[in-house]
Amino acid sequence: MSATLTAAAPRRLRFAVSQEWLLAIAILLLFVGVGLYNPRFVASRNLQSILLGNAYVAVAAIGMSMVIISGNIDISVGSLIGVLASVSGGLAVAGVPSVLAWLIPVAIGSAVMAAQGALVAYLGLPSIVVTLGMLSILKGGLISVTNGVWISNLPDNYHLAQWSLFGVVPMPVAFMVVLTIAAAWWMRNTALGRSIYAVGGNAEAARLCGIGRERTLMMVFAVHGAFVGIAAVLFATQLSVIQSTVPSNLELTIITASVVGGVSILGGTGTVVGATLAAVLIAAIGSSLIFVNLSPFWLRAVQGILILVTVLADIYRRRRRGLAR
């Protein structure tokens, strides 16, 4: 059994690499193309807007990728980000030190997701149902508690976006890059990280190899929750007010980033580097639509096309692999 797993690994790696290269090329082409049309698109100010404004999507997509690779899905992610952002902002306004206002949502995010993971792993409930329930609870709960009143008067040192690493890389972008690399390394080089692929690829085989499906799923959801918490803090600390409602369609954008990043919706394959690149690509497309005077409605359409094409390509590859065997 272990022979099968190791034999599959290089192939998986190759596919993942190819998807990442494709995305990198697509990003490059987009910047060159739209940059030629309007050079202001590639001005540092716009690049910074694109990365700063969307780093949180990429961070959430890291956790989402793990969940999808493990053979599950989480559609409560957007609502949880909305709730945790309000929690974080609420704490900061109440006078809690900013460091705690950043860390507490990460802990809560991890706990909420671990609870959902427990329902999925131990009670065998489908993750789509569990997280759909959570989506409604969080969405309704947030509006009931806050009455939709915005959080403002946040303390100055609360805003992460004002800080930068080595004076050049804004904090949210630094988080995106460092977390992506760390997660990619962890998933490739540690037994725990690799067990996510094993559980998502073939749960029975994983079990025979001594990988506990339940424990692994719990871990995946808890780790995902921590990433969601970080994403929520990046989201909350961007602007001087926090809109205490759930951001619309955020879960779709995050899932799209994962799937377009090459994470197979069927589980078992994909990397977080692809997901982050896809998040950047989607953000860049969104910005480029304004530069080429197209309605942002096209963003949805282009996102949809990207998803369909990626899934089709995935199935095509799987079929070819099947034929090759």
Partner: protein, 370 residues
């Protein structure tokens, strides 16, 4: 792989397929309904005369000049906005001396609760009911019941079907808001400058109406102002910020003004201008509530926030009710006296127009909390 490459090519084609603009057409985000721009000088404009279509209090006792008791049932109580309307009603009551107003209502904006409150007050007996409807149709039966018991009914802020009340105090008409927006922008950025609009979506009814009226008024009174583009940003704070930032990045020095068409887009546009360190170079004018705009107004980044004044709205509602009771406002009248607000016009058959919209500035914004 070849498939994905093909898709990239398709995507690129879509991106390259540059949206075509029809010259002379209305700005993006405007609707196609008829427009009625106000005169440039601040006159009243063409009033389409329409017969009175409100209801009538049946056998109301003659209380002309005598003390009356009114109840005000807003959409909900305990929020800044309706605290402000309630404050205006108390001011009017104090000035008049012969009116007592109580504000009471549900703590959540629920129509069934609101109906119960009105019903209770009908039973208890009052001379008049003031309301801001949570639902224009669902509230009608209980209001008609009040009319049938000789209780005067006047709406404000949110209307019911016309025949369920006598008068409705309309806080702002589309062409009034449009004039105020364009005039403020022209004043702040100058006539020969270019601006862009951040709206919710191109099809949101109120926003589309406002943009159509702004287009019409600008064409008539500030023809040199140049519209660059309208972008959609839903009612999403982060998306609004990103869209406004992208407009700033795209147009650079060419962009001198940003209109925010929603209470979300306006503060987000102000934030984008602040972050880009372009306060004073890019004017932000928009519809928004004072609380959301205070940070930007205080730093002088935003000079005009356009909305109506809810204190005046409540004040006018009480004056209108008093005038009805005293027989000074009858079907067919074209105006009504409303204390410090002066003469208010009757529009659309049975509506009283509050007047020009209110502009919140650094000087007055701290007086409001909603």
């Amino acid at each position: 792989m070849r498939l994905s490459l093909a898709a990239m090519a398709l995507g690129a084609t879509l991106l390259a397929g540059h949206g075509a603009f029809a010259a002379g057409a209305r700005w993006d985000g405007a609707d196609d309904l008829p427009v009625n721009p106000l005169p440039c000088d601040g006159g009243a404009g063409t009033v389409v005369s329409k017969a009175y279509d409100g209801g009538k209090a049946v056998n109301a006792p003659n209380m002309a000049g005598k003390p009356i008791t009114l109840v005000d049932v807003p959409k909900l109580i305990g929020i800044g906005y309706f605290n402000a309307t309630s404050q205006g009603m108390q001011e009017a009551a104090k000035e008049l001396g012969n009116v007592k107003v109580t504000t009471d209502g549900p703590t959540e904006a629920k129509i069934d609760e609101q109906i119960k409150f009105i019903d209770n007050y009908i039973t208890r007996g009052v001379n008049g009911v003031l309301f801001a409807a949570n639902d224009p149709v669902a509230i009608a039966p209980v209001l008609k019941k009040a009319l049938s018991k000789g209780i005067h009914v006047v709406g404000y802020d949110a209307n019911s079907t016309p025949d369920a009340r006598e008068w409705f105090v309309n806080q702002a008409e589309f062409n009034g808001i449009a004039k105020s927006m364009i005039d403020n922008m022209a004043k702040e950025m100058g006539e020969n400058k270019s601006f862009a609009i951040v709206t919710s979506t191109f099809t949101t009814p109120n926003q589309a109406r406002w943009i159509a009226e702004m287009w019409a008024y600008a064409g008539k009174c500030h023809a040199k102002m140049k519209w660059l583009e309208t972008v959609e940003a839903q009612e999403d704070n982060i998306l609004s910020f990103n869209q406004a930032s992208t407009l700033i990045n795209k147009y650079g020095d060419q962009l001198s003004g940003l209109f925010g068409m929603t209470s979300v887009a306006t503060p987000a546009s102000a934030e984008a201008v602040t972050r880009a360190k372009l306060c004073g170079k890019i004017a932000v004018v928009g519809l928004a509530t004072p609380n959301a705009m205070k940070p930007y107004v205080k730093t002088d980044c935003v000079k005009s926030v356009v909305l109506w004044n809810p204190v005046n709205l409540g004040y006018a509602a009480v004056y209108v009710t008093r005038a009805v009771v005293d027989g000074k406002l009858k079907p067919g009248d074209t105006s009504v006296e409303a204390g410090k607000l002066g003469k208010l016009m009757v529009v659309n058959g049975s509506e009283i127009l509050l007047g020009s919209p209110f502009t919140y500035t650094k000087e007055n914004i701290d007086q409001f909390n909603f």
